[in-house]
């Protein structure tokens, strides 16, 4: 019971932060190579429209579910300017499987390798949180953050995409 007070303080403090609508975080730019070796610069992508960034691992079942769902949403909203980056944070030791995995699953979105987890860390990700995704507005503001994925979450993500693309 001696930990109850600590737990209550932490929950209240973070609830206070999370309920604050005045917060508008801005994303930090990065440059990375996709699987074909092309240079991907976030700020350049943002010039074309909003970008969703999703961190995933090949052996994480929820990540795979999310990637499959997002592959469909990406195809659907790409013509409206929606962009999607799948950032793989597999340990560098298992990265050799990523290309094969992406190819076999016919993912059409851009995949970036972040084996040293620099982009992941910069984005506030930790190993306890996977999958982890962010939706960035054209101005680079983080308008949606998501921990985890379960069936049906694609509907909520789709609503966020429609909102940011003004398709409602």
């Amino acid at each position: 019971m001696k930990y109850l007070l600590n737990i209550i303080i932490i929950i209240s403090s973070f609830s206070l932060i999370s309920n604050s609508k005045s917060i508008s975080q801005t994303y930090i730019d990065f440059t990375a190579n996709d699987l074909e070796g092309n240079e991907i610069i976030l700020s350049s992508l943002l010039k074309n429209g909003p970008v969703m960034i999703a961190f995933w691992r090949t052996w994480c079942p929820s990540c795979n579910e999310e990637q499959k769902a997002m592959n469909e949403l990406y195809s659907k909203y790409k013509p409206s300017g929606f962009q999607y980056l799948g950032i793989n944070v597999d340990n560098q030791k298992s990265v050799s499987k990523v290309r094969a995995y992406v190819s076999a699953h016919n993912f059409t979105f851009t995949v970036i390798l972040d084996t040293d987890k620099k982009i992941f860390e910069m984005s506030g990700g930790t190993d306890d949180i996977m999958p982890y995704s962010l939706i960035l507005s054209k101005t680079g503001d983080i308008i949606h953050t998501r921990i985890g994925f379960k069936s049906g979450d694609e509907n909520e993500i789709e609503n966020e995409i429609k909102k940011i693309l003004n398709l409602n």
């Binding site: 930990y3 600590n6 737990i7 303080i9 932490i10 929950i11 403090s13 973070f14 609830s15 206070l16 932060i17 999370s18 604050s20 005045s22 917060i23 508008s24 975080q25 801005t26 994303y27 930090i28 730019d29 440059t31 070796g37 052996w59 079942p61 340990n91 560098q92 030791k93 298992s94 050799s96 499987k97 290309r99 094969a100 995995y101 992406v102 190819s103 076999a104 699953h105 016919n106 040293d116 987890k117 910069m122 984005s123 506030g124 930790t126 190993d127 306890d128 949180i129 982890y132 949606h144 953050t145 998501r146 921990i147 985890g148 379960k150 069936s151 049906g152 979450d153 509907n155 909520e156």
Partner: protein
């Protein structure tokens, strides 16, 4: 703690006015119940809170981690700032970071420092890292990246947290890229270490040069890395005469992918500390060092029962292969095949005809290949998994795994520990509507252990879990496990646990679990530890801002 949270709040709220960017994430874990160890049950309570705070401007960022692990679930108790850093980057070609960081070079044969909180494993460095990269010609077809690291590492043995290894580490790395096709890398690690072995502490100097290259096209990739390790051991009470030990490691991977098929083949040949069985110890100062962590090249297990019987890779003495094949014959069906084989390099014999045991190595020419003979302690595994989407509402998974291992006993040659496991997971998912989903996951495992008395050699394990989720905010699961193993360490044969999680919003999750967990060996990235059975209550709160 309250002060810290208030400070965090101030930082968050100040970002708009000062154009600072701030990020905070918090993980709180609390548990209260009974843990079983060596057949004895005792009260277990832990409270862990970890807050990562990051503040940044365009080029400059700084952050810290506040940890309160008192008492900790695994590892050492700690309260205070455990990580802190300041970093400058021009987002183009220069980056400098002072403070705490983790780093991996190549595939980690000489340097792969990382944190695995679930196993209380952390080889993070405290020091300085400078990265500079640039092009060598106008069209940027030839590029280089150079990196220098100087840092201090205090490694708490994840199996014996009170045993601390200390390293003063320096690293220089150069990578050259030609036409985005060919990469060459050179790395050199020099580490001065103090390694405790019982009541003694041994000073070592380790030199680890490494060379690696990769060839990348859109369909074909090849990677290969070779590392050498030279360890100089200073004389002390444990080692009366100073000596030098040599070791090395090789890792290669080949990938080929076409439209709906992807193939990946990995080869490992780790000989960082080849020694006879009477010399082997996890505290040997000549062993592969904790900041070395090459690819395990065995399957990362994702089912509950197979992940309980993983293969712990021996980076000191192991050779083997892993083959992965992904195949999608149609949009609704995917098939994944995996096979791996590994063994130690040599077998041994007692070269002393007296009662004293003194091992010698049986030399063999094919030591670059694994052997399936008993005296090579082989491990082999084959698995096939298939996932099928019958409709938008109904989908399922089916798998078959066979894991086989022999742990050879060089002292008692007639009693090798042979184990095999056949595991079949089946999963069905049904979406009731676009919010509510049901999932039933069932695993059956048939096990054999040769070292046991005949009537206990065969046993089986069964795991079932049922999930119901309501997107986007609620998830509930109930899991049950049953074993016919009469020698189960916890003395139980059934476990039942319920878990509920509530997403306050998409970035704040509260999870509560209550019931009993079987525990067992858990491995991630080649790091394995035994997790004790637990019966009680767990609370986890994850927040990201």
């Amino acid at each position: 703690m309250l002060t810290l949270i208030s400070l965090v709040n101030l930082n968050i709220y100040s970002q708009n006015e000062n154009k600072l960017k701030a990020g905070v994430n918090n993980l709180l874990r609390y548990g209260n119940g009974k843990e079983t160890s060596s057949g004895l049950s005792y009260n277990k309570e832990y409270f862990e809170d970890l807050t990562d705070v990051k503040i940044s401007t365009k080029d400059l960022s700084a952050g810290f981690r506040f940890e309160m692990n008192k008492p900790s679930e695994l590892g050492r108790d700690f309260k205070g700032i455990s990580k802190r850093y300041v970093e400058f980057t021009n987002h183009d070609n220069f980056d400098i970071r002072a403070g705490s960081f983790w780093e991996i070079i190549g595939r980690g044969l000489t340097l792969n420092s990382f944190e695995q909180r679930q196993l209380a494993f952390d080889t993070g460095l405290d020091g300085i890292r400078i990265i500079f990269k640039s092009a060598l010609n106008k069209n940027k077809s030839i590029r280089f990246k150079s990196e220098i690291i100087g840092g201090y590492l205090e490694y708490s043995d994840y199996l014996k947290p009170e045993r601390i290894e200390k390293y003063d580490l320096k690293d220089a790395n150069l990578e050259l890229t030609f036409f985005s096709l060919l990469d060459f890398g050179f790395n050199y690690v020099y580490a001065k270490g103090k390694i405790p072995s019982g009541i003694y502490e041994t000073d070592i100097n380790a030199h680890l040069p490494e060379i690696y290259f990769s060839f990348n096209t859109s369909k074909f990739q090849l990677f290969s890395s070779y590392a050498h390790k030279r360890t100089e051991i200073s004389a002390n009470d444990l080692f009366p005469v100073s000596f030098t030990s040599m070791g090395d490691g090789l890792y290669s991977s080949v990938n080929y992918s076409i439209k709906n098929i992807g193939i990946s083949l990995e080869y490992k040949n780790y000989r960082f500390d080849l020694t006879t069985p009477d010399n082997q110890s996890t505290e040997r100062p000549t062993k592969a060092l904790p900041f070395q962590n090459p690819p395990a090249a065995v399957k990362q297990q994702t089912t509950v029962l197979t992940s309980r019987v993983p293969h712990p890779t021996d980076f000191n003495d192991e050779v083997g292969f892993q083959l992965d094949v992904f195949y999608m014959p149609g949009e609704d069906l995917s098939i994944s095949l995996n096979g791996s084989i590994a063994s130690r390099h040599y077998s041994f014999y007692d070269a002393d005809t007296s009662s004293i045991v003194r091992f010698s190595t049986n030399k063999r020419n094919l030591n670059f290949l694994p052997s399936l003979k008993n005296d090579f302690s082989p491990y082999s595994e084959i698995s096939i998994e298939s996932e099928y989407y019958y409709s938008d509402k109904l989908s399922g998974k089916l798998g078959f795994y066979y894991q086989h291992s022999i742990t050879y006993n060089d002292f008692f040659k007639d009693s090798p520990d042979k184990k095999h496991y056949i595991t079949m997971p089946i999963e069905a998912r049904y979406n009731l509507n676009n919010k509510i989903s049901l999932k039933l996951h069932v695993e059956s495992q048939w096990a054999y252990n040769s070292l046991r008395e005949a009537k206990y050699q065969n046993f089986s394990n069964y795991f079932t879990s049922f999930f119901i989720t309501r997107s986007p905010d609620l998830a509930f699961s109930i899991s049950g496990e049953y074993t016919t193993d009469k020698l189960e360490l916890s003395g139980k044969n059934a476990w039942l646990e319920a878990e509920a999680s509530w997403n306050i919003n998409s970035s704040n999750i509260i999870t509560i679990a209550f019931g009993s967990e079987r525990g067992g060996l858990r491995c991630t990235s080649g790091i394995c530890r035994y997790i004790n059975p637990f019966n009680g209550f767990r609370l986890t709160i994850q927040n990201i801002f």
